[in-house]
């Protein structure tokens, strides 16, 4: 096996590095899936920091009742941009980064199917990010409407709203192009013998996610375009005075928005499904049912959107339909959790940092799943809709879910990517600090929501003070802990110990079994032979 890898590596590589360009031009012109994966990952980390600072502004203002740090208008801009940047700038690109690095190596392909398109998909992102940031510096500032951009509040915003709309168009384009690339790569470029049902689960989750993206992103583009024409060109899609309906916006948005939740969650499931078997030294339990569960979640995600809208005043039949459909999602999600636990069962477990984050994911994501189940019931949701309970719920899913999975993935594949080991002690510190501060920040927000604190308010009644203080302290701790992550990664790249050929003895996908460490710049130029 390693003979194959050595052969590939040694084979005629005068152009081993990037067709002649060096320095910045290398990164601008690159069509190499590994370079582009790296770009995606660093971009998402920068956005994670930017969005994180916004979160800290929010938590600083909410440390005490009263208005101290920012005015309400700027506060709304912060909540809006924190959401947009974290969802579209940090989490989604992070997983596209994983896809770029991993999918070709996992299926035995030399690169992504459309290499130049891949370059374009990435380089759209910085311009979108620039537009988002620029919106703070135009008259009226960034939009203060929440990341959901509900009409008709959007009509009242300044030019920052238009910049945001264009940014979303560009981000959507990038996602769709990236998805087409992923679908084509997976369906057409698998090595001989790598049948669909032999693919690592990460590839499956991304294949399904890519379909979700292709289906959902145009819907969002439509929603924000309608907002744009309502603002400037006299249409009244969302204005009752002209025959429109503000609730129509919400339907369109959430038709995108609910699949979006799984667009973020499914690749995270994929990462976890690679990490847990590796550190349990045991194959993933129920591979086939994992694939079917992923597909079931994806399909269900298109028929539950209105559970975000129980309070708009739907007919009772509508509420009941969406309630039952939503509770059903718990079934395939439950299957996944059971399978992960069964994978660990009677394994031979070790607890390096990737495994710690995977277990943290499993534990906290399941809590987020349970609060989701609580919220799926219409009467409870009506009470808790738009309160901090919902804020706590989706941060358990997005942060302890997607972000923890991304951390697990980075620690897991960093040796493969860089040929260097990260500092295991510091990695464990990073995990425990993140775990503890995350819960300090978000667990108490369940109490706030239950007790009746609305979300997106810059100031609050006195009874909410204690929990808010605790939450703010946790948030600053969590934010600072992420600087440790940056340090760990930089230290590994600069001066990390040389990684062994196979740092994780239980890892069994192609990048571990068929490629040297670090993975060469061009891998699998000749397809591996699989039995």
């Amino acid at each position: 096996m390693s003979a194959v890898a050595d052969h590939v590596h040694g084979h005629g590589h005068a152009h081993d590095h990037h067709g002649g360009y060096r320095g910045v031009m290398r990164w601008i012109t690159t069509t190499n899936h590994k370079d582009i994966g790296t770009l995606y990952l660093w971009f998402s980390f920068v956005m994670f920091m930017v969005g994180g600072v916004m979160a800290l502004v929010i938590r600083a203002e909410l440390f005490s009742p009263g208005l101290q740090v920012v005015d309400p208008d700027f506060f709304n801009q912060m909540t809006t941009m924190h959401g947009l940047i974290m969802v579209f700038g940090a989490i989604m690109p992070a997983f596209v980064g994983f896809a770029n690095w991993q999918i070709p190596m996992m299926i035995g392909a030399p690169d992504m199917a459309f290499a130049r398109l891949n370059n374009w998909s990435f380089w759209l992102l910085p311009f979108a990010a620039l537009l988002l940031i620029l919106s703070f510096f135009v008259p009226g500032g960034a939009p203060g409407v929440g990341w959901t951009l509900y009409a008709p509040l959007t009509v009242q915003m300044g030019i920052g709203m238009d910049l945001t709309i264009f940014a979303i168009h560009i981000l959507g384009m990038s996602s769709i192009l990236g998805s087409i690339n992923i679908i084509t790569t997976i369906l057409n470029m698998r090595a001989p013998g790598m049948t669909l049902m032999k693919m690592p689960l990460f590839c499956w989750t991304w294949l399904i996610t890519a379909y979700l993206l292709v289906a959902a992103m145009p819907v969002l583009a439509g929603a924000v375009t309608m907002t744009l024409t309502d603002r400037h060109f006299g249409t009244t899609f969302f204005n009752a005075a002209g025959g429109g309906d503000p609730v129509l916006y919400q339907h369109i948005f959430w038709f995108f928005g609910h699949p979006e939740v799984y667009i973020i969650a499914l690749p995270a499931f994929g990462v976890i499904s690679q990490v847990i078997p590796a550190f349990s030294r045991k194959p993933l339990f129920g591979y086939a049912s994992m694939v079917y569960a992923t597909a079931a979640i994806a399909i269900l995600s298109f028929i539950v959107w209105a559970h975000h809208m129980y309070t708009v005043g739907m007919p009772v039949t509508g509420q009941l339909f969406f309630m039952y459909a939503t509770t059903l999602i718990a079934v395939p999600t439950g299957v996944k959790v059971f399978n992960w636990v069964a994978t660990m069962w009677r394994g031979s477990l070790t607890f390096e940092t990737p495994m710690l984050f995977a277990i943290g994911f499993l534990f906290l994501f399941t809590m987020g799943g349970f609060t989701g189940l609580v919220l799926s019931l219409v009467p409870i949701d009506i009470q808790l809709h738009d309160t901090y309970y919902v804020v706590a719920h989706f941060h358990y899913v997005m942060v302890a879910g997607a972000l923890f999975a991304a951390f697990a993935g980075v620690y897991f594949w960093l040796p493969k990517w860089t040929g260097r080991m990260y500092d295991e002690t510091l990695g464990k510190w990073h995990f425990w600090l993140s775990m503890i501060f995350f819960n300090i920040t978000f667990f108490v927000q369940h109490f706030l929501g239950l007790a009746g604190m609305p979300r997106r308010i810059p100031d609050y009644p006195l009874m909410f003070e204690t929990w808010n203080k605790i939450s703010s302290i946790g948030a600053f701790g969590f934010g600072l802990s992420q600087l440790l992550f940056l340090y760990i990664v930089l230290k590994a790249i600069r001066s990390g110990e040389k990684a062994p050929e196979k740092p994780w003895e239980g890892a069994d996908s192609l990048e571990w079994t068929h490629l040297p460490t670090p993975a060469p710049y061009h891998s699998f130029e000749t397809a591996p032979v699989l039995k």
Partner: protein, 386 residues
């Protein structure tokens, strides 16, 4: 069954409280709440019950699943010499743990269904109140039932000084308003919501009643409070800059007190509405005048102001309407007398009060083709009464 759950819930609640106290460090400093507001409607009680049911079911599953996981973490670790097994599927097990969760979620949704249907049943209300969301205040109109016709705005009463930290914050900081919504205890109140600008959402946690207020549309919900008291909530849909500063306060009173409140409120509103001594804006006068015109003038002078000459002269373009105010006020107050006989233009001085006369004159001077921009103040009418 219900009692067991209640029992369990009390235990759990206590456990929860203990955790909450421990988390916050010092027990004495705790003022925060950690659970749903104490319910005062049947719906809110159902929500409470459902929430405890969910918490218990989810808690049991959570403990079971993660009990297995942590046992595995403890027992199946490599450092203890665990050898990996190599099983990786079992159709039987997988079918079981697909079917059982399916049954559980259906079991969760069924009891909720009853409550959903009850929440949607807004029929047979004793009192109907329209709630209008504005940026950033609430408008209340009592449409049907005792108190019909009462209408007022409700704004945040917390002084700016408290918000900006120049003054100590009061007990009901951000949860106090100038005009509370008052309703009788034990009566079914139907709430119609709408909004004037953007989407707002009207919520009283203790009632379990939350309904978005959508501009251009009417939605409805209801509550029947079974305890008197003051219940507070906030707008829960982001509606712009002051979203955090438009609270909702409902005062639930006994039937007697409610009747008394309706009487007082009506008197107060009547006085406020037709106070001839305060200055009125042009818009107010026109709006009021349009109603007065529709009730008193339209039959003769017509909705288009063209009248039916010669008996009923046109007001649109009339030199009298476009001329000096005093002359027109005089005619409306005292009517037109021709050759010592009263004409069809009656004297309205006795039928309408100063505000109504001022309003209708303002309306005629600023409607159709007449655009004088004049606002005739009630005080001017008052001065010209003989």
């Amino acid at each position: 069954m219900a009692t067991t759950i209640h029992c369990k819930s009390t235990m759990l609640r206590t456990a929860f409280a203990a955790i909450a106290l421990a988390a916050a460090g010092s027990a004495g400093a705790i003022q925060s709440k950690y659970n749903l507001a104490p319910p005062v409607t049947a719906i809110a009680r159902d929500i409470h019950w459902l929430h405890w049911m969910m918490l218990i079911i989810c808690g049991v599953i959570f403990v079971a699943v993660f009990g297995v996981m942590f046992y595995s973490i403890w027992a199946h670790r490599k450092s203890k010499g665990a050898q990996p097994a190599d099983f990786h599927e079992s159709t039987k097990v997988e079918v079981v743990w697909t079917v059982i969760p399916f049954l559980i979620v259906i079991g969760m949704a069924l009891p909720a269904t009853k409550t959903v249907v009850a929440m949607k049943d807004t029929t047979n209300a004793d009192l109907t109140i329209k709630v209008t969301g504005y940026q950033w205040k609430w408008g209340y109109d009592y449409l049907k039932g005792e108190g019909e016709g009462i209408s007022f705005m409700s704004r945040l009463a917390t002084p700016r000084e408290q918000i900006e930290g120049r003054q100590a914050k009061g007990e009901h900081y951000l949860l106090e308003v100038d005009n509370e919504l008052v309703v009788p205890v034990g009566k079914k109140v139907r709430v119609l919501t709408t909004a004037a600008d953007v989407v707002h959402s009207w919520w009283i946690p203790a009632f379990g009643t939350k309904q978005d207020a959508i501009p251009g549309f009417i939605r409805d919900t209801w509550f029947r409070a079974d305890k008197t008291g003051v219940y507070r909530g906030q707008c829960v849909e982001l509606c712009g800059k002051e979203h955090g500063f438009m609270p909702i306060v409902v005062r639930v009173v006994s039937q007697e007190d409610y009747t008394k409140w309706v009487g007082e409120k009506k008197k107060q509103l009547a006085a406020l509405a037709d106070d001839p001594n305060r200055p009125w804006t042009l818009a107010e006068l026109k709006a009021r005048g349009e109603k007065v015109y529709a009730a008193n003038c339209v039959a003769c002078h017509q909705a288009n102001g063209k009248g039916a000459p010669p008996a009923f002269p046109a007001l649109d373009g009339s030199p009298l309407v476009l001329g000096p105010k005093e002359k027109q006020i005089d005619i409306v107050l005292n009517g037109v007398v021709k050759d010592g006989k009263p004409t069809a233009m009656a004297a309205f001085g006795k039928q309408l009060n100063d505000v109504e006369i001022a309003a209708v004159i303002t309306f005629t001077r600023n409607n159709w083709g007449n655009q004088t921009g004049d606002a005739v103040q009630p005080a001017e009418v008052k001065a010209l009464r003989k």
